[in-house]
Subunit: 474 residues, 3 copies
Amino acid sequence: MKKENTKTNLDDQRFFDPNPFVRDIAYSLYQEVRYLPLYCPHGHIDPVLLSENAPFKNPAALFITPDHYVFRLLYSQGISLERLGIPFASGSRSEYDDKKIWELFAEYFYLFAGTPTGIWFQYELAELFGIKKKLNGDTADEIWDEIENKLRLSAFLPRTLFEKFNIAVLSTTDAATDSLEHHKNMKESKWKGKVIPTFRPDGVVKLVGKNWKENIQLLGERCGGEITSYQSFIRAMENRREYFKSLGAVATDHDIFVPYTERLSDSHADLLLQKALTGMITPSESATFESHMMMEFARMSIDDGLTMQIHPGSFRNHNVPLFDTFGPDKGADIPVLTEFTMNLRNLLNAYGNDSRLTLVLFTLDETAYSRELAPLAGHYPAMRLGPPWWFHDSIEGMLRYRRMVTETASIYNTAGFNDDTRAFLSIPARHDLSRRIDATYLADLVAKKIIDREDASHMILELTNGLVKKTYKL
Amino acid sequence: MKKENTKTNLDDQRFFDPNPFVRDIAYSLYQEVRYLPLYCPHGHIDPVLLSENAPFKNPAALFITPDHYVFRLLYSQGISLERLGIPFASGSRSEYDDKKIWELFAEYFYLFAGTPTGIWFQYELAELFGIKKKLNGDTADEIWDEIENKLRLSAFLPRTLFEKFNIAVLSTTDAATDSLEHHKNMKESKWKGKVIPTFRPDGVVKLVGKNWKENIQLLGERCGGEITSYQSFIRAMENRREYFKSLGAVATDHDIFVPYTERLSDSHADLLLQKALTGMITPSESATFESHMMMEFARMSIDDGLTMQIHPGSFRNHNVPLFDTFGPDKGADIPVLTEFTMNLRNLLNAYGNDSRLTLVLFTLDETAYSRELAPLAGHYPAMRLGPPWWFHDSIEGMLRYRRMVTETASIYNTAGFNDDTRAFLSIPARHDLSRRIDATYLADLVAKKIIDREDASHMILELTNGLVKKTYKL
Amino acid sequence: MKKENTKTNLDDQRFFDPNPFVRDIAYSLYQEVRYLPLYCPHGHIDPVLLSENAPFKNPAALFITPDHYVFRLLYSQGISLERLGIPFASGSRSEYDDKKIWELFAEYFYLFAGTPTGIWFQYELAELFGIKKKLNGDTADEIWDEIENKLRLSAFLPRTLFEKFNIAVLSTTDAATDSLEHHKNMKESKWKGKVIPTFRPDGVVKLVGKNWKENIQLLGERCGGEITSYQSFIRAMENRREYFKSLGAVATDHDIFVPYTERLSDSHADLLLQKALTGMITPSESATFESHMMMEFARMSIDDGLTMQIHPGSFRNHNVPLFDTFGPDKGADIPVLTEFTMNLRNLLNAYGNDSRLTLVLFTLDETAYSRELAPLAGHYPAMRLGPPWWFHDSIEGMLRYRRMVTETASIYNTAGFNDDTRAFLSIPARHDLSRRIDATYLADLVAKKIIDREDASHMILELTNGLVKKTYKL
């Protein structure tokens, strides 16, 4: 975020090591990068927000209903999603009184003590809204009013915040079939903010996905020709990637449950696609097709230069009754043990020695950091290790990551920070936390004489801006 | 333990962070909960101890022979169980000279440096017996005498200690077929100490268990009718749970090697039970039955309100020659990797959204904390994560637990502390250590301004008494 | 290393906790063991180095081309092995200009900031060559000259360094079929340095290994009789072990991908060997034979007293194109998840209760430390846990190891330090780092009053010299 003179109640040296000697080093490192631009190459903001630039509605609509980080913890403590006004799959809601929802959240806000969600929220309250009170049942209404009043000001319009946040570039995540109309609008507008799409083809690659048929038909329409064969499917993928690139895309993004990779013959791949088109595909055949497509997407990335991101190991929609009522992204995606060494071997053997490819791997299984991912990233030229992801984008999570990765892979095989958020206002909070923790990590190395202060200056700059720019060619 | 004026050689600020600023915060937090009552909802004390209230025999019988935490480490260093007087499976012993056993232990006590067993033992020596010397070969006899003399005093009778320890409630662990006579005696006596049973049906649920036939017959006798069908088995389970509840039980406890859960049809379950009754059951069929019974026990817990505890992942009696000679619980239960996300899915989908259920999960596989257990506990209303268990009930183990769990699940989805011990005298030592480490953990958050001092006071109270009372409805 | 008066630019209190109170304890503990002899029971130095005692060639040949720790990281950043002069499988090289290679390394040396390789290298530069400058593109030539000049001095001959390093004993690793001529030469020479072989039979036990046929024939020749049966194979193994012992060997060393252990009947083992001799063996049959041979090697160790070392879980030569061009040991061995509890059960049940056996287990899967290895080592008398291995022989790796192992297994079931290196000059750097980190670990325990200062003195001595001497019977 840009430097301003606002005084907040947040301690300026928060989150650093309490040993004053180490804290001072951390603080000085942090100051070196504190106000640098935010590079956001991997996130989930809805582009309509910045395309339309409409004011935010109210505190509940801003902080609670769209953010599964927030309502999952409330839900775990027995507060129903109905009471929190989370929309049903049908779109309707059980509770429309947003102020009541806000009061409920305020009453239970103590639950977030010690969580990153609590930290981000406090940053937003203090740094964006200048609110110095603690949120609880007593202060709920007062804080609601303060925020609501500010949301009406032009200073709180999305584009104004984008600039105040000092965002250099913001990637959204978009289906392969997306029209990208909002991106086109922004590109054609006079607004200078750089908002770019990311190519996420899961909806057409997961042959047993819920809406696959509709997606594949839409894909055909987007590319001006029905998808009837593997050949036309591949052509459509390449075509869409070009289109995404024309609107600024620098990366692709792939969800796969087990990151197994294996090239099929074209005729085998075609057979699977035909089965899907006739509705005869099995989950195991779909997984085979996905494993093949990872190879194919790596091949395309070498051709068109898009950075390839894979994030495996999340079991989506674990809670079926909740999914049936409320749909996806409701806090019920649960990680599983994830194997990389054997699963990625075919892909890395085929493309991992080629420096034209940049392959960013994410994990929800921290045990793979030191055992598999750092050794792989510390060997294959194409591979970079993504930042601590999702549940692990936290103080302890970031420290574990650096401590388990750096000694084997060095910081230079990591990809810099991603905020990975759906919550626009949390972006500066997340980057600020990451910069503080990287400074903490490096200060510890300096204090222990593992690196010198000059190295640390170079490294904090790399961690903040250098690596992300290199990884995503920004 | 109750506040007293005894001066010991233990540093009053032990185990806190050595940074004085953090240590002071930790110490003040610790003081806020130091003398609060001990809630012990999960332990393995023999109820006869408090029912009969007979004096302890001598130091060896008190500290060594009943405690596999102690003799397993001696055994690993080549000291035979025979020399330590551990009873053979037959009940006889090779060594009956308890003083000689004590001297052997004393000589090797240095092995325990840095282990929780060493810490607990030093607490017991200092705080209970007022002994300031270090135990070793030279001091063995002197310390033996001091302890033995004290054991003859009425102040060292089990019930007197129970009161001195300030135990609010102590749960034992009891087979489903247990008569609970000692619990009945205590309830009917004038003694005010609250000692309650826990329903542990492993002996009748594991159809291939060593004494299953005897157990199932005894179960029938306890319920006034032979067990001949799945229907009568379920009725007996419900019947026994009611009986346990009538003597104060608040929880059930389940050991299962792989925590897979899946409901069978009643007729399928009956078929497996019939096979067991005719001795034709296989281990894999027994596992299927156990997976089904987890569903059934969750269902019963919703009906009768007993908190359900599952602790999977221990490979029992790994050392067959040792088991054949000495029987179970001799330190040879070894953990394995344990999967929760997929295995518990059926149970959590069926019952995990129901706040009437409290399901406490334990693990010996720490890798599941941040990957599976915290995400699950941070979502499903019914689930609570049990404290670090067994090998992990240690300083580093507790810190790893808090640091891997809190950011995702918050402290509020954890179950408070369990001492889980067979060693009565270690109870206050274990609670004291836990309180010190929780204070250490929170002090670090305060010093780093992640939480404020007021939050910390609230949280230490929750960790010490609030969460355990809520989890076990005490 | 022996105490000298050289002043270097390295901070004498480096790597200790930055809290001055803890640092002072660590430093005083370190001083107690700093100059003690180096015991090196597990390493990969080529014996020809000390047998021939020829001068080292130049800085690149010394530090870069033989050390995959160094060039793997350069390779991961897109610097080709060709440019680094790494020999092709054929033996020829693409780049013969060693000074150019050195300059390339110097330019990219910043990559090693925060890695153990960086730490070791800086120690070597400062402590061995008295160089105070930082290596980078600007200082490359100057430092090259300084090192090259010193390498011509007799003070830098391998045997002189061996003595300066204060090496008490150095084990090499040698194929079962090795003539051990260099060991014989050294034994017969007047030189007093103790260099001993280690028996590593992988080349004849892995029936599908690349050169198995040649190896088995050579084995027959070494033992004066063709290997035609399982019986003659076993006799040859015993024969070679005796020969290794006659030249001072104290240990055997075994690589196995999955550490499964199971005894076959002799006739079954013979069948597998016959299949291998006729070239009809499958990888799965070879794995079965290896699992059997683990049992047999444990049996032999009980007979002849050689300490048995197993290091499983490395997937060798993951990068096939690189392997085809450059051969093995090029930084592409990648760890996998490794299971010990079930896999080792047969071996531990058969031999683990026998104190005559010392079985040292290594792991690249740190998740096994607290879950499986510490519980096993804290129970079975025969088992010792090897030091943090390979990628984990690092500051954070060593601290994680101690913190995850000690509370369950105590320090006394660990095996002391191994340098495990191919880089002769890194030996004192590695031991020094290990001593510093052990001191750091113990100082933290002292500062927190978990152990007292007297215990710590005893323990640092055990960690430095006591345990290694006991484990390897030195």
